[in-house]
């Protein structure tokens, strides 16, 4: 029985390493590509050019622009290049501005 319990412990070890790797970055401006859009929650995931992936929930204060003009959230899709200015609050990232790049 002890052998099986030890095996179970070992089985749980690699499990602890798995993950999709959402990162927290400092406040500032970053560029990257949209990895995923969740319209129902006005939420996007962005693969930053520095290799990190961040999660952003849009708020009423978030400014989304394209070619210098206000844009709709629906203009975002997977692969869209964006420049985001984020404010770090705790370990939450609040998008201040999101600019759609060409």
């Amino acid at each position: 029985m002890m052998k099986w319990m030890a095996l179970s412990m070992l089985a749980a070890v690699p499990i602890a390493g798995c993950g999709e790797g959402i990162a927290v970055v400092e406040s500032g401006s970053y560029e990257g590509a949209v990895a995923k859009v969740v319209p129902a929650e006005k939420e996007i995931y962005v693969n930053l050019d520095n290799g990190k992936k961040i999660e952003l929930y849009f708020s009423e204060d978030t400014k989304l622009t394209q070619d210098g003009e206000a844009a709709e959230f629906s203009a975002l899709s997977q692969g869209t290049r964006v420049r985001v200015e984020v404010k770090r609050v705790g370990k939450r990232l609040e998008p201040v501005t999101v600019e759609i790049l060409k």
């Binding site: 099986w4 412990m9 499990i15 999709e20 959402i22 708020s59 370990k91």
Partner: protein, 168 residues
């Protein structure tokens, strides 16, 4: 005057459901381990089917808990101070579901479909390892859920300073 929030909010289905898999899977796994240890004792023969029933019910309720967790995420996810805890909670919860589902299938396939008696014994043995690994992971999922509620007040109403919402 502040309003007292409903107790039927969408995010509250999760804590209602989540204790079923915690109880059923832990007791089911312990029972399964005990049944394997006592498999030669006829007086303990009831233990194996009883633990299997608990594990099946626990796994079903774990999938329901994942679904209600997704509903809760929609309501509380954007306000957390450390959303990484929520991501880890969700990820490991899926893992618990997959482990127990896989363990049940290994047990079932071993008993039903493997050809010889010697081979048939390996299904439940493999299942036992997976169930115990799943139980350890389940404990961690619960720990992360506790961190969300007791450190970040996920889904928890913060009463106003003067408690005015409690005055009828």
């Amino acid at each position: 005057m502040a309003q007292l929030p409903s107790m039927w909010r969408e995010e509250l289905w999760h804590p209602l459901v989540v204790h079923f898999p915690v109880a059923l899977l832990i007791v089911g796994s312990a029972g399964f381990a005990l049944a394997m240890a006592l498999r030669r004792k006829t007086s303990a023969a009831w233990l194996l089917p009883a633990s299997r029933a608990l594990l099946v019910l626990g796994t079903l309720s774990a999938w329901v808990a994942v679904y209600t967790g997704i509903l809760a995420d929609r309501e509380v996810g954007r306000d957390l101070c450390d959303p990484l805890v929520l991501h880890a909670h969700e990820r490991y919860a899926y893992l618990v579901c997959f482990l127990f589902t896989g363990g049940i299938l290994a047990d079932l396939l071993g008993v039903r479909f493997l050809p010889s008696k010697q081979w048939k014994a390996w299904g439940p043995r493999l299942a036992l390892v997976v169930f115990l690994a799943g139980t350890i992971t389940l404990g961690y999922v619960g720990h992360l859920g506790g961190k969300l509620v007791y450190q970040q007040a996920a889904g928890v109403h913060q009463p106003s300073e003067d408690c005015s919402e409690f005055v009828k």
